[in-house]
Amino acid sequence: MPLVNFTTREITCKLVYYGPGRCGKTTNLLYIHGRVPEQRRGNMVSLATQSDRTLFFDFLPLELGVISGFTTRFQLYTVPGQVYYNATRRLVLQGADGVVFVVDSQARRYDDNLESFQDLQENLLDQGVDIRQIPLVLQYNKQDLPSDLILSPPDLDDAFNFRNVPSLPADALHGAGVFETLKALSSLVLQRLAVRPPAP
């Protein structure tokens, strides 16, 4: 559950971007960092290798504004995608309030996506979290590539979206779908804190 400070009326949510190596997780955060006014975001912290591959995590704090009288903040994290950084992924995933699974839409990356998705399920389970219970959004990134190189959103839905969660096509490099993804996940995460409508 997001952290709620009743005294200062603040909500803080930890959102994690997960997915295989080079699928565009860091690109999502970089785009957000570039679009959001400086006074509403912190510095982007990137623990990366010399070749700019995420080594530990990227981190971007955002101040969303006031919702229902609560100042709402997001902590956006990415995990390193490479298979051998699983221990690090587990650590970053700890206490996540919601996950964006970034799928690389290229057909040749299908197996990498699948492996990473299974890895996400296992790592959540390790922490006692069932993937069917955590707020989850799928982002089908790189949909701008030529259609013969990529899988379509319906095909990817068939492969990954067994929970029927929100899934969004994206071109994170140019920003398409980045905003929509964050919106979809934040809505799911905050719904957990919302008063439910009375039963009909």
């Binding site: 709620v4 912190g42 919702i67 903040r73 902590q75 650590l91 700890q94 809505s187």
Partner: protein, 153 residues
Amino acid sequence: MRAIEPWVEAPLGGFLKESAARLTLLMTSSGQVVAQHGFTRSLDVMAASALGAGIMASTFELAKVMGIRPLDAVVHQGTGVGIYLAAFDTPRGRWLGLVVFGDETSLGLVQYFFARLTEDLGRAAPAAEPPRQVLAEDFEDELNSSLRALFGR
């Protein structure tokens, strides 16, 4: 000083007074800020918290890989300034403390009073409350307009 829950304030206040720490941050092991003293910008607090939790998490993993017992504290020592990072258990789960201290105090004092802080927190912690629904039913309208404003749309 700012604390998420009021019961943290008295023990933390005692620690600050005794240890003469410059900055102090209490957080959950997943990097969520619980209380802080000395930071001026909330967004910086979140970054420090994320990094502190990352350091402790990798320290635990390192110990595991080396086959040794978990390391509960890490000290970074610079010229005239040091950072003390430590993990401790509370009735609310495992928390971490990040303390920045200068020459006006010492690592020993920080360690000693931090140990006392963890005991005080253990005593002061009330039973955990069940999560409350705090947002209005129609919060999504506000969320959407906040996000649009944030992205300049």
